[in-house]
Symmetry: C2
Subunit: 479 residues, 2 copies
């Protein structure tokens, strides 16, 4: 255990300094490295493998729902970005501009895409003619750039990886249904695959995406009580379609503008995984996206037959579709235990001479360190059950944290009082007035996160002005 | 057939104008669209699905050989690009420069990556310490930018998609073996999956990658007799390692620089597919990467049971792992035949009332339009055989074209004479002198393509100067 303790010492504890604990995990679990490009991160193999698992699961779901992948240019000419007024106002201050090609100054600046609505719209104007061309259900996996001042790995970086869905529909209802459908896909993915409970809601008008009529988001509560916007889905109406002159001939032979959505999620989700499930021993990965689901650690591996048995178990688990690896390196078992705890591998399987005699092995679940003995007979089924139990337990633990840190408040004083127990979600009624929204933030420090789709009535009065309330709002401090 | 002929009329014939035929296919087969971003293309769903199939096959092979995916930043600071002198000399004239972030001028220009050797080297300097850290076998899928003056879809665009492998090894032999191994992976992929025969060879010194000791490439002959460099693999020695101060402690406890490779292939391969297999009816796709391998066209689809039978066959083929679709739209069968010929779907399956009575269907292979009758009993096996036969036939046809257009020459006059029959590969001996290489190009118009790994001795004399020859060289006009 000496080695184990030594490795654990390498990361700052969560309670001591949550921000440092976070970046320690990013580095020590080999997720990222820094480079000389300020604000951009290197995603290392272990971190990228998590992203590949996320991509595979989401891409499959998108395609099952009829979406197709495309690739749009990396650059947007300044004049194209300017076509939709709200959009350019929102993004122009935070884009990177290409002004030189080789040794020549460009006649028009090109921005490195911060998002691709404008490019999709230009293309849609070319290819949409008739109602028969609708809906268009396109998605793109790529990197985008936003020139942030303060950056943190995964949570906020100048370049990040994401997917952006962009769809066009004949009617507003159909586009609205798509917006909500994709919000539900994200919520479902977070709960079923990432074991992260989320609140589905609508952003307040002041917090909408630049150019959108409505912005929906899923909001999750991190271990430190701060909130993470984990994915968004926007309904655009036909504003962009008008700005980009996209029209189609309807069934009734009239000419109309189609209705549009966009929706996206990013590598930020990896930050959400770290801050929801991680602990003072390192990362804790949800089984569905863990690059290694089971690590087999041979005990007394130089004794006859141990490595062979470990390999036999590996083959059985791999055949059952489990992502599994044996660590037969020269390091001590204690070192290996600490290493794979740091890397958040959901399940450890130990096998040694004594276990072999008894035709059993030891299983240790990462998130709660629960240890059990399992017969080698039927080990694949046992491991699958343990992985499912790990997912369920992680979800429950995260939900309990959220419930413990969710405060129902009726006055600004109640909010300030509640937050003395630590940051969290504040639930309070709102009149719909932006002045009240600003004042809540000013007085209590928490901003509006979302207007949840599942409304409740905590009272009839706005938490701020006391006038009649319109909606229940989730408030919190945001990453 | 009237409809069919009409659609076919839409593309320029190959013999009339090969370049226009090529761009016609890119557009009419829905592979790409242009945008207002000069030199960048939009890859549409049908084109992108080909790329996804290419990615899936290659990524699996890379991983089987122990490679891991990572993601490096999009930007390279000017000072980092300048660290290796040959490298910056080769790339600086053709990069796009970011000079503004938001409203602020950057203190140092950033280039949009044209390739990522410098970023990988900076990272490797951070993470390689000991021989135990070697080899490092990294790969990245991303887009890169090169500010080309003349652009064509897939073949040469300012932005393109690619993969770039970057590996580090303890010894020169190991790095050399990796370079050749990856060249073989590319060659094998082209022959087994894309049905494109290739020549494996080494570039002449004047044609090496900027900073490489040796550049290997696979070269393919297009339908018009011009050559396409389809993928490259570079051996760097330890030049970059020295420039970036990458060192490791050897087993013998000395300090050494590791040896490096990089290798890449791009969306250009889709251009290679078009120009190797396409014909005057449109695209012809190799089954391994075709988004749709079999299109089922119901005949007299309003007759009872036809659509149900078509759907039944679709389900049987899909269950057998075949990418299959039914077109039950209102268009005529003739229109559908032409449409899927344009899109290069390898196999068409027609099913109508008469066929159903006889428990059979009609199969038409795209590349040679061969028609046959097949019993519905065992249709999945029959279809698989037909797809394999299509691949084999396409490969054979492409190889025959190459053989027919390959000319063995002993003098410059023989080269000029041979090329009167049309462009092609010229095989001729070379003394190794760059002046002769230049003169061959000046006099005959063909440049050196590669020094093939499989050497033959056509004569003892250089085709140009008549002095003793060192190597057989493939010459040709390049895309």
């Amino acid at each position: 255990m000496a080695n184990n303790e030594k490795l654990v010492d390498q990361i700052t504890s969560m309670d001591e300094d949550f921000a440092k604990w976070y970046t320690d995990i990013c580095k020590k679990a080999d997720l990222i490295d820094y480079s000389s490009v300020k604000g951009c991160m290197i995603i290392r193999p272990y971190g990228y493998a998590i992203w590949e698992n996320i991509q595979r699961i989401l891409d499959t779901r998108f395609k099952e729902l009829g979406h197709e992948n495309v690739y749009m240019p990396l650059f947007i000419p300044e004049s194209l970005l300017e076509k939709e007024k709200d959009h350019v106002a929102g993004f122009a201050p935070e884009v990177a501009w290409v002004t030189m090609g080789g040794n020549e100054r460009l006649t028009e600046r090109l921005c490195v895409r911060p998002t691709s609505e404008t490019l999709f719209c230009e293309h849609y104007a070319n290819i949409i003619r008739s109602y028969r061309d609708l809906p268009k259900l396109y998605n793109q996996w790529c990197s985008v750039v936003r020139w942030e001042k303060t950056t943190r790995p995964f949570l906020r970086s100048r370049e990040f990886l994401w997917q952006e869905g962009h769809t066009m529909h004949a009617t507003a209802e159909e586009a609205r249904a798509e917006t909500v459908q994709m919000l539900n896909v994200y919520a479902d993915f977070h709960e079923k695959d990432l074991a992260i409970p989320v609140v589905k809601g609508c952003k307040t008008p002041s917090d909408k995406f630049a150019g959108a009529e409505d912005t929906y988001a899923i909001e999750a509560l991190m271990h430190d009580g701060k909130c993470l916007q984990a994915a968004t889905s926007h309904y655009f109406g036909n504003g962009f379609a008008k700005a980009f002159d996209i029209t189609f001939t309807t069934k009734e032979n009239t000419v109309a503008h189609p209705y549009q959505t966009s929706w996206g999620c990013t590598t930020r989700m990896i930050g959400g995984i770290i801050m929801t499930h991680g602990d003072d021993n390192g990362l804790v990965l949800p089984p569905a996206v863990a690059p290694i689901q089971v690590i087999i650690v041979p005990i007394a591996q130089h004794k006859p037959g141990v490595l062979e048995e470990a390999e036999k178990i590996r083959a059985i688990l791999a055949d059952a579709g489990i992502r599994v690896r044996v660590d037969d390196s020269e390091e001590t078992p204690g070192w290996k235990f600490a290493e794979y705890e740091m890397k958040g591998v959901p399940l450890r399987l130990e096998i040694g001479p004594r276990d072999m005699e008894n035709r059993q092995c030891v299983l240790v679940t990462r998130y709660n360190r629960e240890k059990s003995i399992a017969p080698l007979e039927g080990i694949a089924d046992t491991v699958k059950e343990k992985l499912q139990a790990a997912h369920d337990g992680m979800y429950k633990k995260a939900l309990e944290n959220r419930i413990r840190r969710t405060y129902d408040c009726h006055t600004l004083e109640e909010i300030s009082e509640a937050l003395k127990n630590g940051d969290g979600f504040v639930r309070a009624m709102w009149c719909g007035d932006e002045a009240c929204e600003d004042r809540v933030k000013e007085v209590t420090g928490v901003g509006s996160r979302c207007i949840p789709l599942e409304q409740e009535k905590l009272s009839d009065r706005c938490v701020c002005c006391g006038k009649p309330a319109k909606s229940l709002v989730y408030w919190g401090k945001a990453y």
